[in-house]
């Protein structure tokens, strides 16, 4: 398998027009220029136009699963449309070295009056499958979609979940080299989503590249090796899902905080660059500050390698810079992919703390058995204030502690449940 990038996007920009009237005018002009073979001066913006994507460049390697995240209107769907060749970029080039399959809209191309069976044949033909291929894969498609009972009903009677199941089943069986998915999976039920992700993992082993847009950060964490965060048409950050999602959440938080405090709103890029300066990702109102955080063994010595099942203490030291009436301290342990393994806090554990004044320094110990599977883990620490409207982040640091679990026992998975096994003849 070649290690060349399967998708290369270089300096791609795409503009749209806000006004419908001007859209028609520009449309007529552009079409006329195309037909007459005149050059398009697509570099500049005309009145009411804006860049939906602005100078975006990235590469995707074969077999990679890339998640696209960002607020609504960030340009995620536009990017997928460009990658699928439905519209052309106004600037830059896109190169795709493989067959592209896309699921950009729920049941795009289904005819409501046709039955599921008829739609499978038609849709597969639209995706370029030959008659033999469709006949061969028909049963597998129906089976994957789980629609045996409804296959001869018109699809207009299908639920939205059934729609997406059928669409996804067809797209998957078209055997693309690159699969583009735009939020479509959000409506499937848990069972189907699980099935999709099993298919995704299988795909990746076969070298299929997957790009998907999602607002479900857990899904992105779980399945993507890489994440691109888009904001107002530009790439803010690209990297491991864990880091990018933390940055993204921090930005969302600061936006909300800025709004409530009537402060000037920071651009996403500002926040991202400021965060990266402080190496660790951190955000909060600043009313309290986490000054120290260590993992200790029962002899109170700092440790980095822990035997599975060993009793340990996470010790946090917090200094208050403001009066806080009801502080909540919490930790979250995450694995390398960013999946949350365990999280707890003083609110859930009902451990009371009196109000804190300016200058108070508080030490909090979390004592537990680390019954975890082998591997590396990261710990997030948070200090919140409980208010009527909910928890408010005073200080939050990602990955402030890193530790490794080793084990003499053999087992698999996240945690060591330490099963007692008895075997006897009956």
């Amino acid at each position: 398998m070649s290690t060349d990038p399967i998708i290369r996007v270089e300096g791609v920009s795409k503009k749209f027009c806000r006004s419908l009237k001007r859209t028609m005018l520009y449309g007529v002009k552009d079409v006329a220029r195309d037909v007459l073979g005149l050059p398009q001066n697509s570099d500049g913006l005309r009145p009411d136009e804006f860049w939906a994507l602005d100078n975006v460049s990235f590469e995707v390697k074969r077999g990679e699963c890339l998640g696209l995240i960002g607020a609504n209107g960030a340009g995620k769907s536009t990017l997928l449309k460009l990658l699928n060749g439905i519209t052309l970029p106004d600037k830059g080039t896109i190169k795709v070295a493989g067959r592209v399959g896309a699921l950009l809209e729920l049941g795009a191309g289904f005819h409501p009056m046709l039955t599921g069976r008829e739609n499978i044949y038609l849709n597969a033909a639209i995706l370029g499958l030959s008659k033999e291929e469709i006949t061969e894969k028909f049963d597998a498609i129906v089976d994957f979609a789980g629609l045996e009972e409804f296959i001869d009903s018109p699809v207009k009677h299908y639920s939205s979940g059934m729609y997406v199941r059928l669409g996804f089943a067809i797209a998957v069986h078209a055997e693309p080299d690159v699969l583009l998915i735009d939020e479509a999976l959000a409506v499937g039920d848990a069972h189907f989503v699980q099935k999709c992700f099993t298919a995704f993992s299988q795909f990746q082993r076969q070298g299929v590249t997957i790009l998907f847009v999602s607002h479900d950060m857990n899904v992105v964490r779980r399945f993507c090796q890489e994440t691109i965060w888009l904001e107002v048409g530009t790439i803010i950050r690209r990297g491991e899902p864990k880091n990018i999602i933390d940055l993204y959440n921090a930005m969302v938080f600061e936006r909300i905080a800025a709004k409530t405090q009537q402060a000037k709103s920071l651009s996403a890029a500002d926040i991202a660059s400021r965060k990266s300066v402080n190496s660790a990702q951190r955000f909060g109102t600043g009313a309290a500050e986490i000054v120290d955080m260590t993992l200790l063994n029962l002899q109170l010595r700092p440790v980095e390698i822990v035997t599975s099942g060993e009793e340990t203490i996470f010790r946090i030291v917090v200094r208050f810079k403001d009066f806080v009436s009801d502080a909540v301290f919490g930790i979250t342990i995450r694995d390398k992919r960013g999946l949350e393994v365990y999280g707890t806090n003083t609110l859930w554990k009902k451990s009371k703390l009196k109000s804190c004044r300016v200058g108070d320094v508080v030490q909090i110990d979390f004592r537990q058995n680390l019954m975890l599977g082998q591997g590396d883990y990261f710990v997030n620490v948070a200090v919140n204030e409980k208010r009527a409207e909910g928890l408010v982040r005073l200080d939050w640091i990602a990955d402030v502690i890193k530790f490794s679990i080793v084990s003499d026992d053999e087992f698999m998975g996240f945690c060591n449940l330490n099963s007692e096994i008895s075997v006897h003849f009956i």
């Binding site: 070649s2 060349d4 859209t23 028609m24 449309g27 007529v28 552009d30 079409v31 195309d34 037909v35 073979g37 050059p39 398009q40 697509s42 449309k81 460009l82 699928n84 060749g85 439905i86 519209t87 052309l88 970029p89 106004d90 600037k91 830059g92 080039t93 896109i94 190169k95 795709v96 070295a97 493989g98 067959r99 592209v100 896309a102 950009l104 809209e105 049941g107 795009a108 191309g109 005819h111 009056m113 046709l114 008829e118 044949y121 038609l122 033909a125 639209i126 995706l127 370029g128 030959s130 008659k131």
Partner: protein, 299 residues
């Protein structure tokens, strides 16, 4: 391994090419324009590739249209019979002085209106094809001319259904068509090509400006009276201009010639109209290919 081609950004251009060998597709701002012979070669390759899709789309449109209806295919005949009845009445009552026709007037008018409706039906269905496909145009990449070409299917099907009353009327009035009638389908082919060529352009125009579809209805209503459909081809100036300036007139006249006596009265006009239809169909197709990626978002 990867031969870089600066191809048109059409899915089948890509999928067809990719199936043969692993090629790389490139999308650039001017990517839709591909000049010269190679551009045409890709277009024809796509057409061959999507022939089954076109067939499926035609079957879909025909089978879907009357699924939730009682009279079903009879609806293909009703408007035609209604129009002809009105004109037959106007003709018989001499309210409207329509000149003499070579065959019985009702048979003449019924045939004329069937051919006209074939043209008008193809043109309006092609024009609406992209807009009515909605998300298929905006969210799926495939050779979208398949939608426009397939839009010719249902009107052709309707035409075949309409031949039933035509034959019945011919028998009723004792009109025996000449042996030349076997060539009639050859005359109808350029009628469809003409509609398709215009339809390619209008389908794109309709995507950008929806007035196109509405305007077309009015234009077609007027157009029917500017074509010798319900009256014999005029011979006096300036009225005979409709025979010359309307590209459909020579085609319609040729079909009437074939039915009446098997000899074309104006073969040179017929050939000219055929060539025009073919050129329009090819030019419209090309224009469609060049512009579709730009306007796909408008659906």
């Amino acid at each position: 391994m990867e031969e870089v081609i600066n191809s048109t950004p059409s899915a089948v251009a890509s999928t067809a090419a990719q199936r043969q060998g692993e090629l790389e597709i490139e999308y650039t701002p001017s990517g839709a324009r591909r000049n010269g012979v190679s551009g045409w070669r890709i277009m024809f390759a796509d057409l061959v590739e999507s022939r089954r899709l076109i067939w499926l789309l035609i079957l879909r449109d025909i089978s879907v249209r009357y699924r939730q209806s009682i009279l079903g295919y009879i609806w293909a005949i009703i408007p035609q019979l209604a129009t002809v009845s009105v004109f037959a009445f106007l003709h018989a009552s001499r309210v409207l002085p329509i000149g003499g026709t070579r065959i019985a007037y009702v048979a003449y008018a019924l045939w004329g209106i069937s051919v006209w409706q074939l043209f008008a039906g193809c043109l309006s269905s092609c024009t609406a094809s992209l807009v009515s496909s909605g998300s298929l145009v905006t969210k799926v990449n495939f050779p979208r001319e398949a939608l426009v070409i397939a839009a010719v299917g249902p009107p052709v099907f309707d035409f075949v259904v309409r031949l039933v009353p035509v034959v019945a009327v011919f028998i009723w009035y004792g009109v025996t068509p000449s042996w030349g009638v076997i060539f009639a389908p050859l005359v109808l082919l350029p009628v469809m090509l003409l509609a398709l060529g215009l339809g390619f352009v209008l389908s794109i125009a309709n995507l950008v400006i929806r007035d196109t579809g509405n305007a077309l209805g009015t234009v077609l209503t007027i157009g029917m009276f500017l074509t010798p459909v319900l009256y014999p081809p005029p011979v006096r100036w300036p009225f005979f201009l409709v025979n010359l300036l309307n590209p459909l007139s020579p085609l319609l006249t040729a079909s009437q010639d074939l039915i009446a006596d098997g000899v074309l009265t104006r073969p040179e006009m017929f050939v000219a109209a055929c060539i025009l239809s073919l050129v329009l169909a090819l030019a419209g197709w090309r224009a469609f290919r060049v512009t579709i990626p730009r306007v796909a978002g408008y659906a």
